[in-house]
Each structure stands twice: as structure tokens, then as C-alpha cells.
């Protein structure tokens, strides 16, 4: 089980909010400093390692840019959303951000609640209210990449790309 203090972001959080276009050509550290600057200035100084992001409908809609990496670099431990945009989900797998869909999660958590996520039985519990929700399982082959630090180490191990 992993737990994290929650930050609630609502529906349709797009990749321009997570990784603004003007930062596309900047370093990943600079990109991580720009997360949510338009909709929630100052958040990057408040989030702590291991915290959880709670999203609503279609989290991560938009671009193929590595927005999932920015969230991971901010210290986000895991993401739970009602639905996750398919492209953002791919990047979550590949950059090793634990990201799962969880119907009902947006209503079940108020900001600051602690989410206790168990991948073993695909459930999440709100430590304050005791509410328990089912998490949609991530296919095992994708979960392995997601939890194994993403796809770069896998490609390096196969001799496809140079090691970092």
C-alpha cells in the first residue's frame, strides 16, 4: 500500500496546464517548475514527494508532450482520475508515473485527504472518511513498465538505446 496527501484538480486538466508550450524547449527541471502555473500558481512549491494528484474527467487531455514526466519530477507519487486521456496514459507508462482510472474518485476526496492506494487488490481508501473505491486495473504488461521506472531502462537493457 502507498499513501499520499491529495491535491484535487477537477475535470479536463490539459497538457498545456501541466507543461506550458513556451517550456517545451526548456530543461526538464524548468518544465517541472512550470506545472500548473496558469491554473494554480505556486503549487510546485507546495507539493511534497509522494503526494497524490486527484483528477476528474479526461485528465491529461491534449498534447503528446512529456507532461507525465513533469508531474513525476514534481514528486507526485501517484495519480488517480475518473478517466485519463489515452496519450497522457501512454506517457505515464513510459515515464514511470503510476496513473490509474478510478470512477468516483473526484467526489470521494477533498483536497488534503490522504489516499491509501493498494495495487495488490486495486483499491483506494480515503483515510479520513474511510470510503473505499475500486481502481481500474492497469494491464499487467503496462503496469510492469510503469512501476519499473518507465520504458527508457527497458530499452537500454535491450541494447536499443544508449544508457543515460
Amino acid at each position: 500500500m502507498i499513501s499520499g496527501k491529495t491535491w484535487c484538480f477537477g475535470d479536463n486538466i490539459n497538457t498545456d496546464l501541466i507543461l506550458p508550450g513556451p517550456y517545451l524547449y526548456r530543461t526538464q527541471e524548468e518544465q517541472a517548475r512550470a506545472v500548473f502555473q496558469a491554473n494554480r500558481p505556486g503549487w510546485v512549491d507546495q507539493v511534497a514527494p509522494g503526494d497524490a494528484v486527484i483528477g476528474g474527467f479526461n485528465f491529461g487531455m491534449g498534447s503528446s508532450r512529456p507532461a507525465a514526466r513533469s508531474l513525476r519530477l514534481c514528486g507526485v507519487g501517484f495519480l488517480l482520475a475518473e478517466t485519463i486521456n489515452g496519450l497522457f496514459f501512454r506517457n505515464s507508462v513510459n515515464y514511470g508515473l503510476l496513473a490509474c482510472e478510478c470512477p468516483g474518485v473526484a467526489a470521494a476526496f477533498a483536497e488534503g485527504d490522504v489516499a491509501e492506494l493498494s495495487i495488490a487488490d486495486w483499491r483506494v481508501r480515503n483515510a479520513r472518511t474511510g470510503a473505499m473505491l475500486a481502481v481500474t486495473p492497469v494491464p499487467s504488461q503496462l503496469l510492469a513498465i510503469m512501476q519499473g521506472g518507465g520504458i527508457y531502462p527497458l530499452m537500454a537493457a535491450k541494447g536499443l538505446i544508449a544508457s543515460a
Partner: protein, 417 residues
């Protein structure tokens, strides 16, 4: 059990008799398209081997010509990568460069019935060619060029059947805005377009609609094949291809019929694309600082022709910037020969080289604080084209051109009356 077009292509590419929603399909990638952004040092790694250089194309598009040292460095890395592995399809700054999705269309790289991946979300535009094309992330692209494969979660499909024909002055962008306003996002779903009205849509119109599939958050957006498509592809590729129709008993999450003749010009309100569509009249008169026509969705020759038709013999309003970005340098040349560029310049427009440019808030049309823009491009998210306080309305090239003349949001009805 019957399959939709997307399911049939994914099944074919994965060597399976059947794929069904819910499973993960591992498929053979026919074409992998890398961009200048793919070579950002933050994501790119030195590739030790590629699966098949002939399956790879490289197109520089996001910041072209290089606007920053960082962009120039990406271009350099891309050229070196192409040289190292003998990748012939390199669309460098020059005559055959353009926005990747428009270059793919021009050169017939998206082969009907196959799978194409590209590191940009609007890759789904190649769905106009009956190709299962999807935008993926940078790491997916590294995986695709080194292994020749990709994985996809198979989603359910929503089918749209078109009847009738668009009226003059009503465009594929308005059709998109209608669907976006009525049905909203299609997260984790595929979209399939067909029906008796589909063949009346030009390839460019299909590209606009398919490209905007990214804004539906759809997995794959795909058109049925027809004679128009087959002849378009035969003119552009010598490769054999086998287009895919849906099975008669394909299972759809929903089937929706749209009468194209009943549609009117629409505008999306700022900050989001879907569920934001209103008739032009509802926002007419809103003052604008900038009008933009371009991007993978609206930088086609037809879009430039439409813009030229609207502004011919008239002048852009004083204090309004009208920026037009052709989708490719080849479109730029064709528009020059057809006289569209001269008409636009005479009216006061600024025409830029082909690039993602203003659409991504990259260069050549970035918005300042509190500015208002009306755009015929792909996205109007908060902060998309520059400062987060800028307001971005989205509409067809005809509506954008008419607004540039007025200095306020305006319809182009009188031109088409």
C-alpha cells in the same frame, strides 16, 4: 464477431484474427514519423539500432526555421540521426518541409489499412487516409523506431454517418465544432466516419476533421475508404495497399447521423475545445488583437483559398494582426501560384513559412497578456498560444478571415450569400 475499421487494422497489424475492446494489442508499425521535438535532449537518447530505416520519416515542424538554439540543436541531432541510419525521408528546412501531418498527407506516407505513429497528438489526421494513426509520446517513438512495434489499448468505437453536403461557407471545422459541441469528448474511444455524405468531403476537409480527433481525446479517428481516397493515394505512393471497411456486424458504442446540409458556422469559446461551440452571432462584435489561420488542421490549400476569397479586395482592420501559416512549403508555393498569397498580403495579412509556430505558442504569432485571438488551428487551451491570460476563440478559416477584416469576431456570410 464483427469489427470496426480500427479493430480490423489493429488485428491485421498484430497478426490476430480478432481484437476486442479492453485488450492491449501489440502491432507492427508501418510508418514511424519523428519530429524536431523528438530530438530534444531531454527525451532523446542515442539510438544504437533501428528496426527498418525505410519505415521512418523525419519532419522538422514545431519551430522552423529554428527559433532558438535549442531548436537548432534538435534539427542538428535529427540530421545526424538520419545520416547515421540512412533514413532517406528527411524533411529538413527547405522545399519539402512542413507540418508533419501535412507532409504525411502530401507524400502518401500514411498507407490505408496500416498503423502509423508520430510524436505529435494530431497524428490522427492521417485517419483521413483510412490509416490507424495515433499520436504517441517521445519514448513510444524510440520504441517504435528501434523495435518496429507499438502497443495500443483497444477502445470502443463511435460511428458517425454523414448525409447531405456542407453549404458554401460552412467548413469541416464547423462540422468538427458541431460534433464537439453536441457530443463532447470521446475519451478512450475510437471515432469512425462514413455514410453517404462522406464522399462529398474533400481529402483536405477529411484531414481537418480527422486532425481535430485529438481534441475529442479519441484513440483513433478514421474515415472509411472510397474512390476519392484510392485515387489520392495512387497519385502519391507506389506501395500496394488494402483499404479497410468495417464489418457489417461491427459493434459500436454508439451510431450518430449528421446532416451536413443543416450545419452553420460555429465558434468555440476560449480555454477548451469541446462543449464550447456557439453560433458566430453569439460572440460577433468581440474585439480581437490577432487572427490566425494555420496548423495541421487548417493550413491546407483549401483553407488558404477560402481565406483569400473572404479578404479579396478588402483590408485587415487597423490594429489587428492577421497571420497565415501554410501547412507545408509546397502548399505555400501552390498558394503563391494560385494568387492566394498575393491576395492575403494585399489585404494586410502576414504569411509565414510552414511551422507549428503560433498554434503551439512557439513563435511567429505568440499572444501577449490579456490579448484576444480568433484562430483556425487546433487548440484554444488557456496559455496555448502564449500568455495564460490571453483569450483564444476557435473557428473556421472563413470566420477568422472575416474577423480579421472587422477587427472583431464576425461571420463571412455575405461572401457566400
Amino acid at each position: 464477431m464483427g469489427m470496426t475499421i480500427t479493430e480490423k487494422i489493429l488485428a491485421r497489424a498484430s497478426g490476430a484474427a480478432l481484437v476486442v475492446p479492453g485488450e492491449v494489442a501489440v502491432v507492427e508499425v508501418d510508418t514511424a514519423v519523428l519530429l524536431d521535438l523528438s530530438f530534444l535532449p531531454e527525451g532523446w537518447r542515442e539510438v544504437l539500432k533501428v528496426h527498418d530505416p525505410s519505415r521512418i520519416a523525419i519532419v522538422f515542424d514545431h519551430l522552423v526555421p529554428a527559433a532558438t538554439v535549442q531548436a537548432a540543436t534538435c534539427h542538428k541531432t535529427g540530421r545526424e540521426f538520419a545520416a547515421k541510419f540512412g533514413i532517406e525521408r528527411l524533411h529538413d528546412v527547405g522545399p519539402d518541409q512542413g507540418i508533419s501531418h501535412a507532409v504525411i498527407a502530401e507524400h502518401g506516407y500514411a498507407v490505408p489499412g496500416t498503423v502509423l505513429v508520430n510524436a505529435d497528438s494530431h497524428t490522427c489526421g492521417a485517419g483521413a487516409f483510412n490509416c490507424a494513426a495515433r499520436g504517441v509520446g517521445g519514448p513510444d517513438m524510440l520504441w517504435a523506431v528501434t523495435t518496429g512495434s507499438a502497443w495500443f489499448r483497444v477502445g470502443e468505437t463511435v460511428r458517425y454517418d454523414f448525409t447531405g453536403a456542407l453549404r458554401p461557407g460552412v467548413t469541416a471545422k464547423d462540422l468538427f465544432l458541431y460534433i464537439a459541441g453536441k457530443y463532447g469528448a470521446h475519451v478512450n474511444q475510437n471515432i469512425e466516419y462514413g455514410g453517404p455524405g462522406m464522399s462529398g468531403l474533400s481529402i483536405n476537409a477529411r484531414r481537418t476533421l480527422a486532425t481535430m480527433g485529438a481534441e475529442f481525446s479519441a484513440e483513433f479517428t478514421i474515415f472509411e475508404p472510397d474512390d476519392v481516397l484510392v485515387s489520392y493515394m495512387r497519385d502519391r505512393t507506389t506501395r500496394p495497399f488494402e483499404p479497410v471497411l468495417p464489418d457489417p456486424d461491427a459493434r459500436y458504442a454508439d451510431r450518430r447521423t449528421i446532416d451536413l446540409g443543416a450545419l452553420e458556422p460555429l465558434v468555440a469559446l476560449p480555454d477548451a475545445v469541446v462543449n464550447q461551440s456557439v453560433p458566430v452571432s453569439e460572440v460577433a462584435g468581440t474585439r480581437i488583437d490577432q487572427a490566425f489561420i494555420g496548423s495541421c488542421a487548417n493550413g491546407t490549400l483549401d483553407d488558404l483559398a477560402l481565406a483569400a476569397q473572404v479578404v479579396r479586395g478588402r483590408k485587415v482592420a487597423r490594429g489587428t494582426r492577421f497571420i497565415v501559416t501554410p501547412g507545408t512549403q509546397s502548399i505555400f508555393r501552390a498558394a503563391l501560384k494560385a494568387g492566394y498569397i498575393e491576395t492575403l498580403l494585399e489585404a494586410g495579412a502576414v504569411v509565414t513559412p510552414a511551422t507549428c509556430g503560433a498554434c503551439i505558442g512557439g513563435h511567429m504569432g505568440v499572444l501577449g497578456p490579456d490579448e484576444v485571438c480568433i484562430t483556425a488551428s487546433t487548440r484554444n487551451f488557456k496559455g496555448r498560444m502564449g500568455d495564460p491570460s490571453a483569450r483564444i476563440y476557435m473557428a473556421s478559416p472563413a470566420t477568422v478571415a472575416a474577423s480579421a477584416l472587422a477587427g472583431r469576431i464576425a461571420g463571412a456570410e455575405e461572401v457566400f450569400a
